[in-house]
Each structure stands twice: as structure tokens, then as C-alpha cells.
């Protein structure tokens, strides 16, 4: 265990030095590059901006004491899914598409609906903020991966709480692989 975390003097202060700076930096990077994702003409630029968003969100996971989820985010999302996206962007004719109209004909309606959703979120956050507890429970960071593994696989001979769901997830991935292969084949 990290000796710094065990030290009550360090642990007592809930806000370590420069944490607000890192939070606002990562949050700003995530939102600004998210804006780039939906406004860029060239899909490759969108994909690169999305990678920046994913990495910033991974940083936010680290700030939330979730190092395993941050690792999964970087390896599986930024490393796996985004490479898949970039491959497909290279396969389809992106030159012609980037010269065409970028937004569909009913975009004002879509924007209006999204603004309504934003208003809903804002009112939910403003109304519900008093219900949120102020406390942030200090999760043990160094045993995070171990505890997630215990929940997924079980420990000490017992089946974990999520073992069945985990197996179903592997089945889902198998079906997705088969579906992707079958749909992209020219002749079955």
C-alpha cells in the first residue's frame, strides 16, 4: 500500500494540492475536444479529437481513484476502438464526403432537442444538488484492480457477484465479432 495514502495527515485533507487545476484542465480538454469531434469536416480530425477526449476522461477516472477503469479506457477505447474507427475511415471514401454538406436538413430541430435535453440536465443538477452528499469516500487506490477482479471473477473459491454477467459479456463480444465478419464479407 502506498504509504502516502495511509498517512492520516495527508488523507485528512480531501483536496490535495492542485487538484482543482487538474480537474478543470482535464474537463476543459474533454469538452473542447468533444466540440471538435462534432464540428470537424474531416472525419480523421474528429477521430483524433475523440482520442483527446478519451484520454482526458481517463485522467478524470484517475482523479476519481479508479485506476483500472482508466487503464481499460486507454487500452480498450483509445487503443482498440479508435484504431477500428480509423481503419474504417480509411476504407470509405472520406475525400468526397468531406466536400459535401456536413449537417442534415433538419439540424435546427436536432439542435433544439439537444438544448431541451441540456435544460433538463441543468434543472436536474440545480434541483438535485442539495441531495448529493458532500463527502467523497476515499477508495483504496492500490487494491482497486484486485477488488474489481474479486467482483468479476470471485475470490477464495466463491463465484463473484458479476461472474455471470462477465460471461454474458464475452458471449456478446463473440456475437459482435461474428456479426461484423459476416456483414463485411462480400459473399457468405
Amino acid at each position: 500500500m502506498n504509504p502516502l495514502l495511509m498517512n492520516p495527515a495527508v488523507n485528512a485533507g480531501s483536496a490535495p494540492v492542485a487538484t482543482p487545476f487538474f480537474f478543470y484542465f482535464l474537463a476543459g480538454a474533454a469538452v473542447v475536444s468533444g466540440l471538435f469531434v462534432i464540428t470537424r469536416r474531416n472525419a480523421v480530425h474528429s477521430a483524433l479529437a475523440l482520442i483527446v477526449t478519451l484520454l482526458s476522461v481517463a485522467g478524470l477516472y484517475l482523479m476519481l481513484y479508479a485506476p483500472f477503469v482508466a487503464g481499460v479506457q486507454i487500452i480498450a477505447y483509445a487503443g482498440g476502438i479508435m484504431v477500428l474507427f480509423l481503419f474504417v475511415i480509411m476504407l470509405v471514401d472520406i475525400e468526397r464526403v468531406s466536400k459535401e454538406r456536413q449537417y442534415n436538413r433538419v439540424w435546427p430541430v436536432g439542435l433544439l432537442a439537444a438544448c431541451a435535453l441540456l435544460a433538463l440536465f441543468v434543472s436536474a443538477i440545480v434541483k438535485g444538488r442539495s441531495l448529493l452528499p458532500d463527502r467523497m469516500v476515499q477508495l483504496p487506490e492500490s487494491s482497486n484492480t484486485q477488488q474489481i477482479a474479486a467482483a468479476l471473477y470471485g475470490e477464495a473459491g466463491r463465484v463473484g457477484q458479476y461472474t455471470f454477467a462477465f460471461e454474458i459479456a464475452s458471449l456478446l463480444l463473440l456475437v459482435a465479432i461474428l456479426g461484423a465478419v459476416i456483414m463485411t464479407k462480400k459473399k457468405i
Binding site: S14, T19, G34, A66, Q73, L91, V92, A114, G179
Partner: protein
């Protein structure tokens, strides 16, 4: 300065979610629509992990990992459909994908 709490993460996640919804509803390029769906899923994951921190248990983090698995499956199938469609119709604009419209 206000200490960073769950509320801050909820605000960031709401912003990312709305950006993703705007992308899905206004863009024509299917690849960018799929990327906007990834933005939405990320916003949900951020909420789950923030609540996991707030309550001090790991259920939210485990659920976030399942959502990453889901996102991988969704991206694989969606991009497979996209390639199959591009091979037949030579377009990846959603408003030209209207085979089922009559």
C-alpha cells in the same frame, strides 16, 4: 476555491452527453455519428465512476467496464454495417440511407 465534488463531474458528463446528442442529431456522416455515440457512452461512464467514488463501492466501476465492452461490440457491428452499406450504395451519409423508407 470550491473543492471538487461529485457535482463537478456530473456537470462535465452532462456537457459531454449533450455534445454527443448534438452530433447524433445534426451530422450526416455516419462515422461521426458513431463517434458521437462513443461520446455519450463516455459521459455515462464518467457519471458511474463519479457515483462509485461518492458511495465508496466498486459497482459503478464494474458497470463502467461492462459499458466499455458494449461500446466495443457496438462499434464493431456499426462499422461492419457501414462497410457493407458503403460497398452497395457508395455513400456514408445518413439521409441517403433510406432503403426502408417508402
Amino acid at each position: 476555491m470550491v473543492p471538487i465534488a461529485t457535482l463537478h463531474y456530473l456537470v462535465v458528463a452532462a456537457a459531454l452527453f449533450v455534445l454527443g446528442v448534438i452530433g447524433v442529431l445534426t451530422r450526416r456522416n455516419v462515422v461521426i455519428i458513431l463517434m458521437s455515440i462513443e461520446l455519450i457512452l463516455n459521459a455515462v461512464n464518467l457519471n458511474l465512476v463519479a457515483f462509485s467514488r461518492m458511495w465508496g463501492n466498486l459497482h459503478g466501476q464494474v458497470f463502467a467496464i461492462f459499458i466499455v465492452v458494449d461500446a466495443a461490440a457496438e462499434a464493431a457491428v456499426g462499422l461492419g454495417i457501414l462497410i457493407a452499406f458503403f460497398r452497395n450504395k457508395e455513400t456514408i451519409n445518413v439521409d441517403e440511407i433510406d432503403l426502408l423508407k417508402w
